[in-house]
Symmetry: D2
Subunit: 217 residues, 4 copies
């Protein structure tokens, strides 16, 4: 009897003055779940440049996942965003939780300019939308700790062809949006259900479908 | 033993190419509920100028509500909007469900230019936000069937001091937003829970609180 | 030889931490101009509840205009907004320039709930757009000093059938937008040219055209 | 007497149903200008995958520029966007002007995942904002012909250390925005003046300044 393979999901600690981070709340709810014959391990990362990547790398070594998805809060976005690309730069408009604010520093010195996610983001987007979850492909994960972790994740797994990985940005929770006039939101339960479906699609889709989800600019 | 007084809630039929209207879905779930000692009656209105008001007036005559709130879908808005004011004009950018498209016609010929909602919208907004529901006060309900019904509601009740009334706009459902790239949404269950709380606050707040919720423009 | 009739244009002083107000800059450039056989008088109003209306009423008494348009800055809006309706409420989210912050107080105690502009806003919008100026009809002028002045203007002229009046909101200037990441803007010269055309159209259009320019919400 | 070195500026033909493209209008006005001791050559590129790059490469061979900036229209954006990064993917949501609609195809097969602009975008942004031009650093140039050209530009110049290059996105013109309700715009003359300043700053700034201009997501 073989041990089931692992899905690593990460969320973040609160940052930017928030008291909660829906990325961790949504991901935590899947810890221990069995999805597509795999076992989910959920981990919370600090919103700190460097430290976040250390924690992520430790989790990767420990769990050796077949699938790894990092999830982060994107306050102001309305839909679940499947990120296409991580870029090799930290440029922090606000300080991280340790007060660090790197500007135009590479995530990995000497690393390539960018990595593309190795998830079937088009198939995931289509399955989510068909199931009634508002989802989009995003062409930028920003330049803060989310992109930092996304880049570091892809860099760490660059030599492991069998492991697939990527990043998902999610909206504020309704409770957060209640303090941000006009901001969109989605309940954590909705996000958790969407992530469960997205994981299932990722596992069963070896090659992504061709479906336009680009942007003119 | 006295009969409980009535809360009239209305939602709308789908329009504008949608297959559902979350306003009716959210309101329907409260039909028959007991809230603050009152009984909820929910009714679905057609998205047709004139006909919508006829149906509303019939429901008002039948239920003689102590509290009447009409609810409508505001595709593109992110938060639950408590409308402040209804204006005496129909100006339809798109045709209604009967193909009518009135332009710059009064809702009620000879009626006043506007009516303010008689709900405690500031207290409702604060209670919703404190409970984690994203809510805002809105300064315009548009000029389509929603404003038409809101104006007609306030006009019909203008002589009934004891009856309080107003209008609430809600975002797309997630399933609708899945077909509108980038659009915000809230699940119908979240909206229903928010409406339940809003009704309770309206019933227990005879005089609204003073709290700024205006707009510079 | 008869004296030409007057067009009264007003702009505002800077507020909300800005060092300039493009409404006054745009309007000032038309002071003394002859448009459609009329002479333009431009006046700057303080961004102070009450005082703004006193200054406006003095200007109305002095100039007895055939046409009066108040112009205000709408930071965040992208297009020239022809306002449809003024509502009888002050609700200040931020203090005015004298530190006053009225909440849910009528502009004119006992006044009607609203006044509609008496400008041909549909014809103005169409002429502006055809000439390459981005313009829209707006269903709300907010609840701050702009709406206050707009309401007071229409109230002051309510008995003067021959005088037409309304309110126009304009975007930030580019220099202001340079300090507001992501904010839209239009150069003051563009706004001045648009206002010149809008005045000409207002003077030559006794009855507005029927053209849909409403909002679903 | 030495020949002045060249600045290559490109704009695009109209696309997406527009009758004009402000990128070409703004750039054309600088053709032949002398800026910082350099001579500007302006070229118009077709909005066609592949063909646009052929035309760009021919212009690069012919002019051997010290500085090359491609400019494109970003309908819906409010500010002048200095692009940070080009990614190696074409993903067309709409067909190009030749009817081609590549999906998830690399711009250059076997090329790196991304190139960073080699312009001092932080210094350019700061100078523009200080001079009253609304400008921002953008983390994505999309996945359409603009990004395609940007990537191809950086790839073509990858071995030429002395040549600096990048991409600038600009808003609609006011005339375009007049046909897109609510869309932001900037006059072509404003954009031309901003580009002139941006070029001067690029030429005089060998090493970019450190100034945060990132995004959380």
């Amino acid at each position: 009897m073989s041990t089931p393979r692992t899905i690593l999901l990460t969320g973040f600690q609160p940052f930017g003055g928030e008291r909660e981070n829906p990325s961790w709340q949504a991901v935590r709810a899947l810890h221990g779940a069995r999805i597509g014959g795999h076992r989910v391990v959920a981990r919370e990362l600090p919103v700190v440049f460097g430290d976040a990547l250390k924690a992520l790398r430790a989790a990767l070594r420990e769990t050796r996942p077949a699938l790894a998805i990092c999830v982060g809060q994107a306050g102001g976005r309305a839909q679940i965003s499947l990120e296409r690309v991580a870029i090799n730069v930290d440029d922090a408009r606000i300080p991280d939780n340790a007060g660090r604010q790197p500007v135009d520093v590479p995530v990995v010195a000497g690393g390539p300019a960018a990595y593309f996610a190795t998830l079937p983001i088009k198939a995931m987007r289509q399955a989510l939308c068909e199931a009634g979850f508002p989802a989009e492909v995003s062409q930028t994960a920003g330049t803060f700790v989310c992109n930092h972790v996304f880049y570091g994740l892809m860099h760490a797994l660059r030599a492991q062809r069998h492991a697939r990985a990527g990043f998902v940005h999610i909206p504020y929770s309704p409770a957060q949006a209640a303090a941000h006039p006009g901001a969109p939101s989605l309940p954590v339960e909705t996000v958790t259900a969407a992530l469960r479906l997205a994981l299932r699609v990722a596992l069963r889709t070896p090659t992504d479908m061709r479906a336009a989800a680009g942007a003119e600019h």
